[in-house]
Symmetry: C2
Amino acid sequence: MESTLRQLTAYAAVARAASFTAAARQLHVSQSSLSRAVADLERELGAQLLERDTRNVQLTAAGVEALRIAEQIVNAHRSGMKELQRFLLGESGAVVVATLPSVAAVLLPQVISGFRSRRPEVAIQILDGLERSVLDRVLSGDADFAITTGEPSGRLEHRPLVRDRFVAVLPQEHPLAARTEVAWEDLAREPFLAVGRESSVRRLTDAAFAQIDAPAVPAAEAGSVATVGGLVAAGLGVSALPALVLPLLGTGPLVHRPLTDPVVDRRLDIALRERRPLPLAAQRFLETLEEFRTQQRDLPPGVSWA
Amino acid sequence: MESTLRQLTAYAAVARAASFTAAARQLHVSQSSLSRAVADLERELGAQLLERDTRNVQLTAAGVEALRIAEQIVNAHRSGMKELQRFLLGESGAVVVATLPSVAAVLLPQVISGFRSRRPEVAIQILDGLERSVLDRVLSGDADFAITTGEPSGRLEHRPLVRDRFVAVLPQEHPLAARTEVAWEDLAREPFLAVGRESSVRRLTDAAFAQIDAPAVPAAEAGSVATVGGLVAAGLGVSALPALVLPLLGTGPLVHRPLTDPVVDRRLDIALRERRPLPLAAQRFLETLEEFRTQQRDLPPGVSWA
DNA sequence: GCCATTGATGCGCACAACGCATGGAAAGAT
DNA sequence: ATCTTTCCATGCGTTGTGCGCATCAATGGC
């Protein structure tokens, strides 16, 4: 039982047209080709499917059944290939992006909304986590790409996406809140509330304090920026956070001021596996992102396209 | 988009096994063959499906999608061909038999029951009608074969099946009912209740009366034998019917006696189109019928295997 | 009786598919 | 570090499949 698609297609066309010549015209092949194909199919099946009279072609009982089944098979092939084609063209499937919670909450929503309006059938999955796990997701192939911080490492290619400036986060009534800008130096004199050591933010604040030779001993540290926000709002100290995460701080009595001397910003990159074919749906997503960048679409204050 | 089943099968095997060599062993082809087949498929699709590392083979996102779809298509082919095979082997499908109501009601039930116990998935359709329409059903291809009376005509091949002897049908209290046999001569002296002119029975009774030079003027005629039975039971006259139809006469006060001088029987044949491949399911049905005949299975009195 | 049309078939060509042998790369063994 | 094994890719020659062209036989319409 080894009948080819070609034979089934040929048979289906002939049976539907009830004519070899007509079917040959439709399929753009010679009549002889069809004649052979059908004859071969019949020989392999060991059954006559068509009743040929020099003038007419009609189906036997087996032929009726065979036509039904042949069309089933040919359709399965056609629709399957079409479905795959759509997937390969990035018109269906899923984009999996690994990223930091702040990016997921602040930057991505507008991009996703823009992308989905163009490719409504492409599902989008966000894997949010800290820097390390985000990169692992990409390396392991769980995610198509990441939007995250961190040095280009291993087999990942990085493309700069946005710059995210650090700002001082202060209790509303804090003296420094009176200024339009705050220097790291000033901040260093206050009790500092840091985020956890695994956070990408922490490394940068430590580095900033090191740069101005300030002691880098936080008064307290917390895992999530929301917690840090709470602590600051409660008046326990001040903090320095990238502008992008500010929306995650909640609605407490906080203010934020640009940090200077030095201006510090973290760079968020698109990270993808080198030499790895990116699924087209993911490519399209990145293109949307790129458009947003070239159009300089609105970003929260302190965040700018790279 | 012209990927062959061969390519899809090859790809599915390789993708499932995550190895060209292992898949090659399973499919009993050379590894090089698979390597090429998959490479060709990828080229045609314009997308990389497998990530080859000299040590491992793993699927890309497109590869996962392609595997799902390839298996879908290959399965559709496999199960379709299997289904067709079953049909061709007479293990599924339908047998359509055209026949007279009496055969349908009396002779067929036991045969069908025997056949269905062996081929439970083969449906059986009975087209019952009068002699003419029964033959037409076969000629037009609506039915696979017929069990009916009538002369071999046109493009039909006839195979004798049973002989069905005519018996006198009498009111229970009729004088002739006292005899063990009745001659046509005797019957001719009574008011005769005939069946309609389109019935195959009518032609034979007319012929019998002609043979003994009796006037063939029925006292009344009715379309169905059941009606004739009712008329006889009501004492309006007598009739002559083939033994096979007796069960159709209902339970009225009737008796029947073998008719002699001459003994008349109608022959019921299997009629099938000449030079026409009979669907295997139908062949199997006829074989069952043939078995019943060689085993001389019980038939109503007056009916005997030909 | 003649012509047009239909499906089957002989023939030759092109190429698709295969196996064999081999190459190169990398993991595991020594 | 070197050797061996294992894996996939590829060049090569052979075989067979698929195709179109030309042609044949049968048959219905004129």
